[in-house]
Every structure is written in structure tokens, then in C-alpha cells.
Amino acid sequence: MTLIDLANPTRFLALTARVLPWLAAATVILLAIGLYQSALAPDDYQQGATVKIMFIHVPNAWLSMFVWGVMSIASLGTLVWRHPLADVAAKAAAPIGASFTFLALLTGSLWGRPMWGTYWEWDARLTSVLILFLMYLGLMALWRAVDDPSRAARAAAVLTLVGAINLPIIKFSVDWWNTLHQPASVMRMGGSALDKSFLIPLLVMAIAFTLLFVTLHLAAMRNEILRRRVRSLQMMQASRIAFSGESGSRGEGASNEVGAA
């Protein structure tokens, strides 16, 4: 088992080093196409040009949930299969997910401004996204609170999965709460029946943003693995210094589950 466990991060680094440039290129091309198409898309007869915020807002909102899904799968990997890359994946995804969520909030608020007359309305969807944002921040705080990544991994995995169970409940609660307090709410973001001239750029943008996430995520995972290697090298060095007096062999076996290769 050790062979596979230790080889994986190394093979992962080698593989991603080759894949990443292609992914990045594909992301840039798709983003360019998507943005161009979005710019060409017709104005909405009601909302005017502001409707174009949708092409940024919807992919961000989609990714804010998608990333939590990715982290949930990674958390299962940590708790059930004890896969060495799982907690690296979960940790690397959290800040990226938080960024997408923040952008979804920001664009949502900018989009809503002309319609609501305020930057913030306690609209059901935006409120759910805000709570999701808080949960991302909490998760990041948890990762930061503990120095030893393997100990934080377990706690973060439990919290991520509890969050995954709770998110639909929160969504449902907030929707219910919103109808209770604003029975006359008519604003519907994202719309129900989208015209084809909107739908195609939106799809391209969604795919482009998803690719962007994959690219960023892989890069962040590489950084995390390297960071852990540096950490375990430093620990080895420290224990060498500490034990050099009494026994030279100390620290040779020191290794990190992910770091050492």
C-alpha cells in the first residue's frame, strides 16, 4: 500500500505538469469565445444591457455549488478511502470555491441594482449564496486553524459532508422564509425560458468557467503538495538537528503521507 500511496502524488505532479498548459489554453480560448458571444447577444427588452451580467453571474453561481460537490467527494475520499490526494483536493478547492461564490454574490448584487434600486435585497437565491459563502469561509478558517494538515483534513471532511447534507435544507428554508416575507416577489434570476441567443453563450461560458476551475484547482493542488513537501523536509531537518547529538539515524524515516516520494 505504501508504494501506491507514496507514488501517487509524484505521478500526479508529473501528469498535471503535462496537462496544465493544454487546460489553460483551452480555458482561455473558450472564455474568449464565450465573452465574444455574450457581447454579441441581444439586449433584453426589459432589462437592457444589464442582462449580460448573467453570462458571468450564472457560471459563478453554478460553480459555487459545483465546487462544494467536488469537495464533498474529496471528503468521502479522506474519510472512507483514506486516499492521500483527497484532502489535498479538498483543501485546494475551498478558496477557489469561495472566490466563485463571492463573484456570484457581487455580480448578483450588481445585476439586481437597477431592478431593486438597492445593492442588496434579501432575495432567496442571493441569501442562499451568501450563506454558502459563509460556510466556505468557515471551512477555510478551519484549514488555517490547524498546523498539521492530516489532522485538519478529517475535521474539514466531516464539516464539508455535513454542509453538503445541510445545503439543500438551507436552500429550502431560505426559499420558504423568502416567500413568507415577500409574497409578491416577482424577480426571477436566471429566467425560466431562455432564448437560444442567450442559451448558447451561457453554455459556453459555463463550460469555460468549469474548465477555469479545473485548471486553477489542479494548479492549487500542485502548490499544496509542494508546500507539504517543504513542510516535511523542514521537519526532517529539525529532527536531524535535534537528534544529531544522540543518534544519526533519527529522522531518516521521517516522511509525510503525501509529501515524501
Partner: protein, 222 residues
Amino acid sequence: MTALSALIRRDIRIALRVGGGALIGVLFFLTVVVLMPFAVGPDLALLSRLGPAILWLGALLASLLTLDRLFMADHEDGSLDLITMSRTPLELACAAKALAHWLAAGLPLIVATPVLGLLLNLDMVATGAVALTLLAGTPALTFTGMIGAALAVTLHRGGLLMAVLVLPLSIPVLIFGVAASQAVIVGPMTFGAPFSILCALSLVSLVVGPFAAAASLRHGLD
């Protein structure tokens, strides 16, 4: 069964003996509620309108803050090691500890509600509604909060971090707890719908909480 009832009895006994551990929560609840009029002004009509929300927020914070040490104390003195090793499944032991905590710290909050209702100008029916929703909803708070308490052990860190992690999870309970109380006072909703959802949330957390807490505690004991 003896094992679980022994654990529940021990925890309640400790909570009642150690410097009024359970009563500190009630005192905090009282203090939060007393603070409110200073923030919103002593307008009785406004207070009675905000009453259920104030009581629910107070109860939420009080039950969360007292949960901080649910597992930490047992971890520090080594009891948690023995509990983990024992023949009782850790999930059941966690549930028993949370139940004991609710009996010792959650129930007193509900008992104190009528008195606090007076301060907030709530009538009998409204106070009863708030107390009833708290009775149905505080188990959900305790059993969700226990996840945070278990994480605090794994992380060697409690306090604010735990509150930040757990509070978003308790939003649904807050929504339906306050909504059910408001339904009785101002309508137009029926009391039944939000109240039964509140009960459902409690039941869900009764299952999810112990499993999540045990998953976090097991092998997390360094």
C-alpha cells in the same frame, strides 16, 4: 442501556454540580434578552413584535456557547479515550452526551422562557408558542452544535471558530422556529406547517449529529 444511562446520569450530575454549568446558559440567555431593549428601545409594541426572534436568537447563542466543552472536558482528562475504546458504539455515546447536555442546559432555557416573555411584553399564547417551538427546536441546535464540539476536540480549538462553523448550519432551525412562533401571534400562516418542519429538522439532526461527531472524534484523538 446501562452504559448509556450511566453516561447520561454522570454528565447531568457534573453539569449540575460544577459551578452551575447548566445555569450559566440560562444566565447568558437572560442577559442577551435584557440587552435587546437597550438596542432597539423600550417600545413595548416593537418588543412584542420582535419577541420570538429575540428569544430564539438568545436560545441559539446560549445553547451553542454551552456546547463548547461537551467533548473537550472528556478529552482533556482522558475519559474520551476510554469512551472510544468501550463496547458502546461511539455514535450512541455521542448521542447520550448530547441528550444529557440538552436535559441539563437546554431544558432550563425553555423553563426560563415564560419569565423572559414577560420582559418582552409577550402574552400567554405567544409565550407558550415560543416555549413549544424551543422545546421542539433546541434538540436540533444541540445535536447540530455537537458536531462543532467534536471538531473542537479534533482541532484543539473551540470558541469562536466553532461558532463560525456551526451557526450557518442552524439557520433552518432559526427560520422555522421563529416562523412557527410568529404564526401563532400574527398569522396568517398556520402553526402546523412550520412547526412540523421544525420537528423534522430536529429528527434529522438527531441522526446526522451523532454520526458526524463520532466520525470526527474517532481516530482524531491525538
